[in-house]
Amino acid sequence: MTLAGHWIYWAIVALMMVGLYVLIARENLVKKIMGLNLFQVSVILFYVAVAKVRGGTAPILVEGAGDVVYSNPLPHVLMLTAIVVGVSLTAVGLGLAVRIRAAYGSVEEDELDRLDEADP
């Protein structure tokens, strides 16, 4: 196994860092949620990459096909659940952003800080 052979993992790490960076560096709450999404999606890709077996096919039993190499289906199933969790988190996060916008009139973190300081 070489570094180049692991390229997918490097891509996943890069995506993960992009997500974390957006999450930390952006003041806009909606962009923060987008960063969080990227972060979660990178983990989903990680599981799918782990499951891949070189030359493997779909894990379906075919009569008379003999022994076939197939990719591990379990991580895919796990990720279906993780996607549901991710969608729910996005929904709750965006819902909170809507409520924040209604209460403060802004979704920019620095603006919100200023409003909170002005209002003891």
């Binding site: 983990v43 990680f46 969790v85 988190l89 709750v92 996060g93 909170l96 209460a103 909170d116």
Partner: protein, 491 residues
Amino acid sequence: MSEHLPVLQVVIPLLCAPLALLVRREAAVRTLAFAAAAASFAISVALLVSVLADGPISYPLGGWYPPLGIEYRVDTLSAFVLCVVSGVAAVLLPLGPGRGGHGLPSGRLHWFYAALLLAQAGLLGVTITGDLFNVFVFLEISSLASYVLVGLGSDRRALRAAFTYLVMGTIGGTFVLIGIGFAYQMTGTLNLDDLAQRLPEVRHKSTMLAAFAFLSVGVSLKLAVFPLHQWLPNAYAYAPPVVSAFLAATATKVAYYLLARLVFTVFGVAYVFGELGLGWLLFPLSLAAIFAGALAAIRQTDVKKLLAYSSVSQIGYLTLGLSFASLSGLTGGLVHLFNHALTKGGLFLAVACVVARSGSSRLDDWRGIGRRMPWTMAAFVAGGLGLIGVPGTAGFVSKWYLVQAALEAGRAELALGILASSLLAVVYVWRVVETAYFRDPGGPETRAEAPLSLLGPTWVLIGASLYFGVFTEWSAGVASKAAAMLLGVGP
């Protein structure tokens, strides 16, 4: 029927949550929530009794046997934590959001019950399951419900606190997911016991180190271990008081359970404390949490925020007990989980009582409240003494074990640290007591006690914390059995 108790433990609150949304009428929803919480408490007590008598219970979900199927596993430790979570929920759920302190219009209260039941189901699920991925799912169910509950506070800052909690909690949850991925990649199993058996073969691989790092940091974020506690003070301070009581008493406690489970059952003491030397990291962090939390609590001008920072400090005691990795240390940590759940739950409920009457948790507005609400403040004082660890309260029992563990480990400086931090707790509790009893409110003094529906549950929790300060068979006794099981000494 009785063999299905482990799954009913989780399924009852999980199904009652959507049912609450269908029923809608507040009186009916309240009854439903109480029935669900009471049933789930009864089940957890039955499980604890059965585990203590006959040993661990393994329940194959849907008839698929472990390690392939999902297993619910109840042993002394998980039954103990189940009792804490479902017991506190049984006291708190019938209350609903309480009066005041929340931004819910009447007629929408069924949403509150649904979220609280979901949070409870998630926390019970994390505790009972023996499957690593199931842990993640339940952790996220409880966290999602908690974000919603925190956002219901009456102050608009509650929304921002909930958002921060959501971001930090999701990073924690995703870290846990990455850790699970690494562990699965190396061992090919998700069952906790199976994982523990297969780990020794791959233990030296750096992937396992990464798995442990992601899992422990992720869980520590949910547990609010110093310095990952930034989300906690605002979340507890701006959430509706009843929600603060629920989260303080259960959410961090379950995260602590999970950390102990991962460290002791899955990865093993020899690896975590021997090879990795986690103790060297956890000791200073625990002490920093204890002191930084207490010092911050002293400076607060809002009682809820004061209690929230006090929670940061108390979580330090929990992790301190864990980092000794000895029988008395772990017993101290686990019994503190139990005692602090009762004490802090009761204290936040006392705040809920005051908020229901005067609408404010600001210390300035608490002047002379000791004479207006004598029973509420008596509960607060009793709870405050528990935080300090005065003999006769539950807090004393946990500190006794922790000091004993420090002396056994030959680290007298830690024992002194525990005692010194208790003095800081005296300072912050005294600030509230002084304001409530000795400051002049500057207005007419009329007795206006909180409604019995709030005062009753407050005294149930505070009374329990006093009871377990004297009779420790079911708190320290069970905790020490659970600690012995985790460390692999004795049954």
